[in-house]
Subunit: 222 residues, 4 copies
């Protein structure tokens, strides 16, 4: 089931918009990367090895899941074991790095962090993702979660669409930031998993993701 | 006593300006909402279900206090029991969330927080305001105060006008932010309630609200 | 010795530039105020009761030291007892407020805070400066220092010119901010008073104030 | 081996771009300074005594290593003992100052700080670099490292090119900032030196420096 020309053009628009949003919101340095599944599952739309602030729609390309191109491994490894995932984003935002270097991860504390009620596992290996094998390990540890934190490095977030992956990335970093700040003040009151799941199911819906996407897209364009 | 066409146009201008101000000042994500009482008391001017950064004056509409539209419950519940309130704003700013998750609330410590000398109650329920019943509970706990904090969620602030509600929202978040920072350093010297009330009565006047409104309106337009 | 028409025009330019700089650098809310001594000593150039972000050169006016106009008291009180002072600025910046509410003040720790080697006294009264009497008290406590902090309120900084008062205001807030951050990490290594004075005499010179003024003026204009 | 006219023009472009980048990224106040080695080793391209935000390409000049001009000493001292260094930058960024006043320095904790695996020595003298003798001391303490922190003052960073020195300066400050934040939360998990070196050798390459340079150059131009 090949992605139509029209769908691909829309995907490319969302792809570049998502990169601009994470840049504006402080999630990206020169090294974030994003992908989106195309053609019914065995391929992904990917970006060249350059800053997400500079990537243009016409530079995006399609690559299958067996071909290793720079930075592609973690994306391919996740798609292979997560049929439900349509987009993967990797970035180096400061607050998730902070949680990881003090042995913590996101815990439900407010309406955004509740969205990650399944838990956010931490991959303890340091340095870059250097091989398909290591990427496979990360994908395994991600399991059914929405995000995984790589210690001292950054995070990988997945979504049912580019828009969802982008908005979840923003929520993950904001959740980490608020948790870091709360930990400086004492022990925050966390929300139990069941209660977090209940909150998430009321607040994290396609319509609210669209509302957030429209918001960040508009303020990014300025 | 119907709000005149002219008054309504002015209200709509202030409404959209207030939304832009809270956006610029970091109080709003995609989900803040504002209202203003019209027609002598049984109705309110309200906004559609979209980001406050995107709402336009022509999209505002009047709704009565019995009709539930998305996000309207907490506004209606407050107007019903607070005759003195002409505007209600709800937002998810970070510092008030932080205070609430460590079991604190705003306490008078400096010239802005002194304005909240009546105290700022905290609603301990988590998640969104989901029903008119829950909205009613929140209005009851607000009582005669200028603001209420919703744990892990955000705040509701009320005013005698859109301008006052907007400026009080800014003062609430700035007060929370300074208190959070002071708590990181030790135990701040708080100001006694009576002294806070004395300060508030000298500093929080309609003329100073107008001065602050003119300031934030100008820097928001850039 | 009347200030010449030309000198007055230059003063007004610097006055408005200083207001824009403190606005851009986050020292000002809607309520900061600035003055400059004119006419050889018994009068000052002052601003109307509006946000420093909005004041225009043509709105500035000259007032003598006996006439009380809104917000003028603290300026007049300082000029009366400090012959060396040519400009006074009052503002509500966050970090100096923080130091004051935890019982601290600026102490020499790095090259900027060393400039305040004479010490920065703290006025413990709360609320606004409400009368010429209170303003006189503050001026007395200021003594020969470059700045005084008003607990839970803000600071008053003095200089040999508008430019110097403006740059010192920036250095005071940056010093407070770094000290607050250092205090969160432990007990900072402070610099002894004599060493601080030595540093100040090498780093805080008219040429370096001009360099800083040119810098902030340029980045404020954008 | 004289630097060609063309090479010099390119160097001047990079020089001014680097100054604009450190300004935008918050590393510079009015007093940062940069240099680049020219003419095969005994001279450097240098800037006049003004804010890095204001320096223009046509104002840059070449000076040999024996002539002392304002601010030149530390640059000359480093070039004399470090043949491998082609560019030196000195700046007063806040987070490196913070680490230094609490007796700390950069330690490998994440992918950026790992780049400084050789260690970042701290010069404990306070105040400005006042003489060629003191500059020589600083160069000695720098040794083979990529950076040295001057207590309560700032840092000196060296590189194989202007671009590398600029990007390393950004990584140093970001490393300091993250370490400061992590220290507020507890004891961060640091990475052992050998592991840090392994990470650095995979992540810190000329191609990644070019990618980061392109990124910061683009977002600085806006």
């Amino acid at each position: 089931m090949k992605t139509s020309r029209n769908e691909l053009a829309n995907l490319k628009n969302d792809f570049v918009t998502a990169l601009r949003i994470i840049q504006r919101e402080g999630l990206s340095d020169a090294f974030a990367h994003l992908s989106a599944r195309v053609d019914g599952g065995e391929k992904m739309l990917f970006m060249p090895r350059k800053s997400p602030a500079l990537v243009k729609a016409r530079e995006l390309f399609v690559v299958d899941f067996e071909k290793v191109v720079p930075q592609s491994s973690v994306h391919q490894a996740v798609y292979k074991i997560r049929d439900d995932v349509a987009s993967v984003i990797h970035f180096h935002s400061p607050a998730v790095i902070l949680l990881s270097v003090v042995g913590e991860t996101i815990r439900p504390m407010h309406n955004y962090s509740a969205i990650f009620y399944e838990g956010v596992p931490v991959f303890e290996g340091t340095g870059q993702v250097e091989s398909p094998e290591r990427a496979g390990e990360i994908a395994q540890i991600l399991g059914p979660a929405k995000a995984i934190i790589l210690r001292g490095h950054g995070a990988v977030v997945v979504g049912h669409s580019i828009r969802e992956a982008c908005i979840l990335a923003l929520y993950l970093e904001e959740s980490a930031r608020l948790q870091v700040e709360a930990m400086k003040l004492g022990t925050p009151k966390f929300v139990a998993r069941q209660e977090a799941e209940r909150i998430a199911k009321r607040t994290f819906k396609p319509t609210s993701t669209e509302r957030a996407w429209d918001h960040f897209k508009a303020i990014t364009r300025g």
